[in-house]
Amino acid sequence: MIGACSVRVGVDVGGTNTDAVLMDGREVVAWTKAQTTADVSGGVASAIRTVLEDAGIAPGAISSVMIGTTHFTNALVERKHLSPVGILRLASPSGEALPPKTGWPAGLSGSIGDHVFLLGGGYEVDGREIAPLDEAGVREAAHTLRNAGIFAIAIISAFAPVNNAMEMRAAEIVKEEFPDAVLTLSSAIGRIGLIERENAAILNAALSDLAVRIAASFEEALRGLGIEAPLYISQNDGTLISAAQAAAYPVMTIGSGPTNSMRGAAFLTGLTDAIVMDVGGTTTDIGVLANGFPRESSVAVDIGGVRTNFRMPDILAIGLGGGTRIHLDEALYEAEAIDDAALRIGPDSVGFRIVEDARLFGGDTLTASDVGVALGLARFGAPEKLPALSDAALSAIASRIRDMLEEGIDRMKTARLDATVLAVGGGAFLVPDILKGAAQVIRPPHAPIANAVGAAIAQVGAQIEKVLDYDATPRAEALDAMKADVAAQAVAAGGDAATVQIVEVEEIFLSYLPGRAAQVRMKAVADLAEGGDRVHADAVAGVAHAL
């Protein structure tokens, strides 16, 4: 019996596949894996329709839909669908030695264009102005951008996380001159560290047009199915934002894919410490679960080669997936020995064209999936269409795949002991049972759709930001009280109290105020409580507040 309030649909829209899962509480009721279509909403709608039909429930019984998407990551990596960005940096003369986009890969920088305005403004650490805001310059820039048809605009000022007044004023001026402009303020998406915050703001602006279209197509898909439940999008830290927020802050969703697959793998196995290998169509993402959470990178995280300071899972992506091309001369398919140099695996992949190009589907490209089926690791497609491959050829390819995965384990592992490996994703069958460095390899039930499960069980987050006066309350006491508050908010929002973790504490002493005062920002996340029906609206409200 399915309870009306706890039925959630999780969807993972990858470059190759769109997976959907329907969950009742902690139980996977139905799932599907379909090809990602050029028409995104169509693919999402058909995947959700399939799970609804399989589960035999009405669209009205769905309490919420969570979508994880790699659209924005892919757009940056492939440099497609990016908008040119007008960049207004308010800090001059400070920072002119390091203009926006310094150190960016040339291709991505080229897609953004060269619409940079270095204007007087910004704050010093003590709250003084570096220079007064160059209001005329801002107005002029808005005018220039409007004439050039550059709608996406990022505004960045020095010390904006402490005081965003100048960014707000500049936004007001731009809107007066250019009402249709779509603005990203750095203070809304990043913390201290001007270059990293500016980079994130520029990337966000570049994705803004695509984000609006993607969010609209997701909503259209739901409307078409008669689902009125709220739609949420996964963020890189495992929590959710509303579709409207994702449309405004797409950069916050980058990296949600690996987070979802790791959390999905942990959920499906009940394990909290393991190495997760998510084998997709193009890559295998290798990450580490530590105490049930994806291990994070402590240092600056590159997104598409651009430095940011987001919290992101520490992921190693290797060019091996189900659609990965096996480069081996056809004349050697039946050879009795394969020379090392004659064989190369990837890094190119046929991606979603696997159903046309792979041998299994009558195509003429030998892929990792073809070899997996030939080896008896999986069964799909039309095995009779596979070319004859000698044992030597098969074992050469299998051993090369094993080498790639073993090297990946070795690079991600920190302890000398062998780790448990969780193999998930559509290509999980490519992970051999015995791997050096792995104590055991587990392919959990529903492994192919672990990502969608991860989206469906997204975490609850709560965030508080306030100024604490340590002269009034000693620091340790004030911080403990705030931690208790934010943890309670996460639980109130539907989080499981036993899993609450404070994941972020940022404290900036406000040296321009008398006494010892600090601006403190804290975030707590928790797993969804059992039967956590109330979850979404409240949980998202907590995050929304911060945005």
């Binding site: 400070s94 620091r475 040296s511």
Partner: protein, 367 residues
């Protein structure tokens, strides 16, 4: 040595480690150098022995709080303005520059300056690491004068300090840097070639590059980067003992920008129940207590690193929740002499405990 982008990366890695958490993240300095290299400039690195007696050598770098340096970025005109002003004051041209400290961003800052000015960089520095205050340079310890000294800021301010008392120079320079917004470029301790040869810590730039290269090569070969780091440090002969002090997660970070410094305390919880480590810093990490007992003290090097990648996390980049390894290395011998400890030992930073070498505190000298 030819400085290409890879050598710059290696130098940035080595300098970040030797910064003992301070000197600022070398990332911005590296970008500035890359921008100069892209303009077809090149870096000429010379050895101390190549300096004629009468050469004018200008040690330089940034003074201020690293926490400010990530928001208040350089205009790019500070460095040349300061060096040119020193030339005016001294009535002659500068023949070479060197980093006043090899640690952190200041290990790279003079490279961009040298390219802009068209002079060589001397493979040497004045601290063998990074220290928060100007009088902690070996040049002061050996009795040389910090002045004339020039401070410049992003807004174009130029301040010349002339004072025969190096402690007064630091006090005034610190005040000026605070008035300039908390970060400024400083040229100080102008040296003759003979003085540089007699007192500067030689070979520190190439040592930092060698450390960075060893770790980069270990990573490429799939080997443990920490082991590679320790081996590379020991092989220098300058940093003879090196090892891991603690492994854990940051559970508290109290960090304040005060009187021109980033001052704070870091608490790290052991990952495997080995208690807690407390780390005190003033721009640089100064003193580490493991389960209440001191295990490393200034001037020995204490660096917080990402426990997976072995990248240095400078004090301004520390964040709650980071998984880190605390790594230590013995300071160059020159900093452990009695006379040096008066300026750079624990007591110079207000700690009551007398200096004890890191190898003795951790039993590294028993192997």
């Amino acid at each position: 040595m030819r400085f290409d982008a890879t050598a710059l990366l290696d130098l940035a890695y080595g300098a970040a480690f030797l910064g003992s958490g301070g000197g600022g993240d070398p990332y911005y300095g590296r970008l500035l150098c890359e921008a100069e290299l892209a303009r077809d400039k090149s870096i000429e690195l010379i050895q101390l022995g190549e300096l004629p007696d009468g050469a004018l050598v200008a040690p330089c770098g940034w003074i201020g709080a690293p926490t400010v340096s990530v928001e208040k970025l350089p205009s790019g005109r500070e460095t040349v303005a300061g060096l040119r002003r020193l030339e005016e004051v001294m009535g002659r041209r500068i023949d070479a520059v060197l980093p006043v400290e090899i640690g952190g961003g200041n290990g790279l800052a003079p490279l961009a300056a040298a390219m802009q000015l068209g002079v060589p960089v001397v493979d040497a520095d004045g601290m063998g690491r990074a220290f928060p205050e100007s009088q902690m340079a070996i040049f002061n310890i050996r009795g040389l004068s910090a002045c004339p000294s020039v401070l410049t800021d992003a807004n174009g301010t130029v301040t010349v300090i002339e004072n025969s008392d190096n402690l007064a120079h630091e006090r005034i320079a610190r005040g000026v840097s605070v008035a300039m917004g908390g970060i400024a470029h400083m040229v100080e301790y102008p040296l003759s070639g003979r003085e540089a040869r007699a007192h500067a810590i030689g070979g520190s730039i190439s040592t930092a590059v060698a450390i960075g290269r060893a770790v980069r090569e270990a990573r490429a070969a799939g080997e443990d980067p920490f082991e590679a780091l320790f081996a590379a440090l020991r092989a220098t002969g300058i940093y003879r003992y090196a090892g891991s002090l603690f492994d854990g997660k940051i559970t508290d970070l109290e960090r304040e920008t005060r009187a021109g410094f980033s001052i704070g305390r870091l608490t790290i919880d052991g990952l495997h129940g080995e208690g807690e480590m407390e780390l005190l810093f003033q721009n640089e990490n100064l003193l580490a207590r493991r389960a209440g007992t001191i295990c490393a003290m200034v001037p020995d090097i204490i660096t917080v690193m990402d426990r997976e990648t072995a990248d240095t996390i400078t004090t301004e980049r520390l964040k709650y929740g980071q998984r880190v390894k605390i790594v230590g290395a013995s300071a160059p011998n020159i900093l452990r002499e009695r006379r040096a400890l008066d300026f750079v030992g624990p007591e110079a930073f207000g700690f009551d405990d007398p200096y004890r070498p890191i190898e003795a505190l951790n039993g590294w000298d028993r192997h």
